[in-house]
């Protein structure tokens, strides 16, 4: 070159260091060729990382010497420019130098591709497309550079030969030297060795959805992301190379201009690189530190392990473990004798890393366990565990729309009750909770039961469990595993539990649902035939008719649901779409629920689907549960046409098989009385619910001194809403009207909230008066009896009609019949209605009457209609001929009534 050789011979320059680094690149590259397998690049690299610390170390040296070589070459170039040297090089040399810059990048990029991990595979595509975009020869150039899809042979050849030789030639031509200075050589070695020991070269775990190019290309990736026509990027590269050329060989002004432009470009590029490295996550989406998943999507990229020359396991142990998903995983080397998994979750197939994260290539406990997910399946980590791309991505997305996660209805109703919004049917989400009186009330008393509430302690699902994401339903400990974990919880040193893993499977039992669903509407306990009392634990009678739940709540025996009696469980009716959500947001349970009684107990012809038509999820579940499914016909739901995979249909007859226990039942058709026109608006549950729990007279106030709990953050706090409950009753539910798609249905309802709320105690606003609400809620009691309730229990019953308990009597005086009602409870001063009433006797009630917009008590007209039949029932038995006939034409029966029959007059005295 231009400078006298002696000038630089004894001086350490960036160029000298680059040369030393280049020599190390060559040496380590040759060594690395031994363990590297070009046919299985990813497997061979992960294997050497797990099993061969020295190879790993050499790989790191190869990596770091190359990265430093790039940096120092660029610095060297910058140095030349700064010192105003090198201008006016002969065009040939100038050209080769500019090309040299490109070749350095190509050599490094091919090295990056040779990892064969997720990053590399995508980078390969991008490189291929960009090269293809070069006019005329693009396609051939791309094929000549990358070779056949799936093969790394040609890339390897270019990496170790084409580009390397080219670089060597240019370097020698440029520096006129073969060997760097000895001191540089030694210094470079020391630094490289240290860095290579401390920081391993990257290897993508092939699970994390974020993919990025090598660090020096991330700025380019950011640019590409803005370009719909990435061909422009080629012009950019060309432009840069031309600038480098002019900087080297151009006339003074042109050279100066080129250098300036290059400098500005470099600064901008560094900025883009920072953005690409630290502010781009999955799908190249903008993400900033502190945002959800930031660590996983961004920082995970920098995960690097220190080489441990004394791994925590023996070589033989490591050699025994299989490749998992194409890679060697160090986790299974230590955790090699773990029992309890289902086939699909066998660690020999999916490893530990797929669920538990951590570092699959680290070889000692601490590094391997860094950022590990102790309890995968919590909604906060599903994206990194159950929901990763190869596993259950769709469900982990859907589950966030399920009501069990959003609690939309619960929140909206509570806010409405507190007077904070008008419409109880607004869609909302637990993530939108703020600090209003209602929201605080929810946090103190209600929202512990949502799927997002994380499971934090190992162990089986119990009565006390709440939330836990996927685990809430799918976690099962067998006896051995239960014992092991219990032993560990007693004595930390007992680690047998590490060998007995719980199973994550489809055996969702009623116990999984129990924790949350034994509260509020209490469908779990209702279903099993237990009714909560107001007794204290110490008052529990010594009788098998009583049961203690969670150590404090006393339940009393009531008739169980007929389905439970038969041995059915929750999941025998409730399918995966209704439970885990179907991707849509719903306001309330009745909106999300897909299955209706009439799907199984259908009149007439069933609606069916065949096994060929099943969606993947249903088909997979069906096959897992019942084995072969071909040629099978299933019932489908009326509402959303999902298959009921545990049903079988043959010539209009249907059977149900219980999912966990395999019992088979013939599905009975509805009785004739159900189909009578008089009852066409009456839902099945209105008649067949044997009882429902109800609670009246409850008061809510905020006590600033009460030690409370924030169920969202799971932290204790001072000051809490407190609920003072009234009386719990188990009785036939009241009935009401739900307007549904222009139809009026008669449904069971329970006192949703008859309560007073002292808002002022929370807000301290003078004008916040005591709120009184008398709201009933639609209920699905889950206390089905095969025999429906009696005629009189609706038509002559004050509770059913919504008046509350009391004496409802039909009296005939002076030839005039009149219904009268004498309530059992005192009138509530707030609205003058008896404490337990929903509506007044022969009164209309409007305004906020229920926890839904479309549910209301019977109007006066409707009450009269029902009581008119009740009038007949005062003399005629329900099963009498005349009453049975009346079911199909009541008007006709009325017209032909005997003179002895006295119909009521409705005017009030």
């Amino acid at each position: 070159m231009k400078q006298p050789a002696e000038n630089i011979r004894f001086k350490t320059t960036y160029g000298q260091i680059s040369l030393a680094l280049f020599v190390y690149v060559l040496i380590t590259g040759i060594l690395l060729a031994v363990p590297f397998n070009v046919n299985k690049p990813y497997a061979s690299i992960s294997t050497l990382m797990v099993m061969n610390p020295w190879a790993s170390f050499i790989r790191n040296m190869h990596y770091w010497s190359a990265q430093f070589f790039l940096i120092f070459s660029l610095l060297h170039m910058y140095d030349h420019y700064r010192k105003q040297r090198e201008t006016g090089l002969k065009p040939g040399i100038g050209f080769r130098l500019s090309l040299g810059v490109l070749v350095i990048f190509m050599a490094m990029l091919t090295g990056f591709l040779l990892k064969g991990d997720a990053d590399s595979l995508q980078a390969r595509q991008i490189l291929g497309s960009l090269t293809t975009g070069i006019p005329v020869f693009g396609k051939f150039l791309s094929a000549s550079l990358l070779g056949k899809e799936g093969s790394f042979q040609l890339i390897y050849v270019h990496h170790i030969a084409t580009f390397t030789i080219f670089l060597a030639v240019i370097i020698i031509e440029h520096s006129r030297k073969f060997w760097p200075k000895a001191s540089d050589f030694v210094a470079a070695f020391l630094v490289l060795a240290l860095v290579s020991w401390l920081f391993s070269a990257p290897l993508h775990d092939n699970l994390n959805p974020t993919v990025k190019g090598p660090w020096y290309f991330v700025g380019f990736q950011e640019m590409l992301h803005w370009l719909s026509h990435p061909e422009w990027a080629l012009l950019w590269i060309l432009f840069l190379l031309v600038l480098v050329y002019f900087a080297n060989s151009g006339k003074i002004t042109l050279s100066f201009f080129s250098k300036r432009t290059l400098f500005i470009f470099t600064v901008l590029y560094l900025l883009l690189t920072v953005i690409g490295l630290f502010f781009r996550g999955e799908h190249w989406q903008w993400i900033a530190p502190g945002q959800k998943n930031y660590h996983y999507s961004v920082m995970n990229n920098f995960k690097t392990e220190r080489v441990d020359f004394h791994p925590g396991f023996s070589f033989a142990q490591a050699a025994e473990t299989p490749l998992i998903q194409g890679k060697k995983e160090s986790c299974v080397v230590c955790h090699n004798k773990v029992h309890g998994f289902t086939k699909a979750h066998n660690p020999k197939v999916i490893g530990c890393f797929s669920c538990h994260g951590g570092n699959p290539f680290a070889t000692n406990k601490n590094q391997a366990h860094e950022n590990m997910i102790l309890i995968p399946g919590n909604l906060s980590n599903t994206q990194q565990s159950c929901g990763t791309a190869g596993c259950h991505p769709a469900i982990s997305h859907r589950i966030n729309t399920s009501l069990m996660t959003t609690l939309s209805g619960m929140i909206s109703v509570d806010r409405t009750v507190f007077g904070e919004q008008i419409n109880p049917d607004l869609l909302t989400n637990i993530h939108h909770l703020k600090h209003s009186a209602a929201d605080e009330h929810l946090k103190n008393l209600c929202i512990r039961c949502h799927l997002g509430n994380p499971k934090t302690i190992l162990g089986p699902v119990t009565e006390k469990s709440r939330g836990g994401g996927c685990l809430a339903c799918h976690l099962n400990y067998n006896n051995r595993a239960s014992r092991a974990i219990a032993a560990h919880q007693k004595d930390r040193n007992d680690t047998a539990f590490l060998h007995y893993h719980p199973s994550i499977d489809l055996n969702v039992s009623d116990n999984h649902c129990f924790g949350c669903h034994s509260r509020s509407g209490r469908i779990s306990t209702n279903f099993e035939g237990w009714h909560e009392t107001s007794l204290l634990a110490q008052q529990i009678p010594d009788s098998e008719n009583y049961r203690l739940v969670e150590g404090t709540r006393v339940f009393k025996k009531e008739p169980e649901d007929v389905h439970h009696k038969l041995g059915m469980e929750c999941i025998d009716c409730h399918n995966s779409y209704a439970l885990m959500g179907d991707g849509n947001h719903y306001q309330h349970e009745e909106n999300q629920e897909d299955v209706q009684c009439t799907d199984c107990h259908f009149p007439g012809v069933p609606r069916t689907t065949t096994s060929r038509e099943l969606d993947v999820e249903s088909a997979t579940i069906a096959a897992l549960r019942f084995g072969k499914i071909t040629g099978h016909d299933y019932l489908t739901t009326h509402k959303r046409h999902h298959a009921l995979i545990n049903t079988t249909v043959r010539s209009d007859t249907a059977w149900l098989t219980t999912k966990n226990s395999g019992k088979i039942f013939l599905l009975r058709k509805p009785a004739t009385v159900c189909l009578a026109s008089a009852h066409k608006d009456v839902t099945c549950t209105a008649c067949h619910s044997a009882w429902a729990p109800s609670c009246i007279g409850c008061h809510n106030a905020y006590d600033p001194n009460e030690r409370g709990f924030n169920m969202l953050t799971n932290k204790e706090q001072k000051g809490s809403w407190v609920e003072y409950t009234g009386q719990y009753l188990a009785e036939l539910p009241a009935l009401g009207i739900r307007q549904n798609k222009g139809k009026n249905e008669i449904i069971p309802v329970i006192p949703g909230m008859i309560l007073t709320i002292d808002r002022q105690s929370y807000t301290h606003h003078k004008h916040d008066s005591l709120l009184f609400r008398r709201l009933f809620a639609p209920a699905s009691p889950h206390t089905t009896a095969s025999k429906g309730r009696s005629c009189k229990s609706c038509h002559n019953n004050s509770v059913a009609l919504g008046f509350g308990k009391g004496l409802l009597k039909y009296q005939i005086k002076n030839g005039q019949g009149r219904w009268t009602f004498d309530p059992a409870y005192e009138n509530n001063p707030h609205d003058g209605l008896p404490e337990d009433a929903w509506t007044g006797f022969l009164q209309n009630r409007t305004g906020m009457v229920s926890t839904r917009k479309n549910v209301k008590p019977f109007s006066v007209k409707e009450q009269e209609k029902i009581l008119l039949v009740g009038t007949c029932l005062t003399c005629h038995k329900g099963n009498s001929k005349v009453m049975q006939e009346s079911l199909n034409d009541f008007e006709k029966i009325l017209q032909h009534r005997s003179p002895k029959c006295i119909l009521p007059v409705w005017s009030k005295k």
């Binding site: 995508q122 595509q125 051939f140 094929a143 993919v211 190249w284 991505p393 099943l614």
Partner: protein, 134 residues
């Protein structure tokens, strides 16, 4: 003398250029055949119920028996699309999104995914694709 030297140099330059051009020509011809050889393969997929099945270079979309075979290569820069979320195919590299028909719905990509003609073999429940170059 000058004339002679000049023409000799010119001749050598010409010769070198000629050799260069012919090497490029050989390369061009070789590649033509090489690519042709590579594209002759026909590809068979099982016909499954999955709405989106991901294969390395292909996506088989089955929406209520409305089947489509799309290239899994994003039309922006060719990255392999390996994720479907909410009925959208999302490219991991720069976040382009496509609907299940293959149309680009979010940039940087704007061209639809290449769609391959295929034959459906209903007896064996499989799909046969004879790729033309995309």
């Amino acid at each position: 003398m000058t004339l002679k030297r000049f023409s000799r140099r010119k001749f050598l330059q010409l010769l070198a250029t000629g050799i260069g051009v012919s090497l490029v020509y050989f390369w061009d011809k070789m590649m033509e055949n090489a690519l042709l050889v590579a594209s002759r393969k026909k590809i068979v997929f099982p016909l499954t119920r999955k709405i989106v099945s991901f294969y390395r270079d292909y996506l088989v979309i089955n929406q209520n028996h409305n089947i489509k075979v799309l290239s899994s290569h994003c039309t922006h820069l060719g990255c392999i699309i390996n994720k479907e979320e909410n009925g959208k195919l999302i490219c991991p590299c720069h976040g382009s999104e496509f609907d299940l028909k293959g149309n680009a719905v979010k940039g940087p990509a704007y061209k639809p995914l290449h769609s391959y003609p295929f034959k459906e073999d209903n007896n064996d429940r499989r799909i046969i694709v004879q790729p033309t170059s995309s």
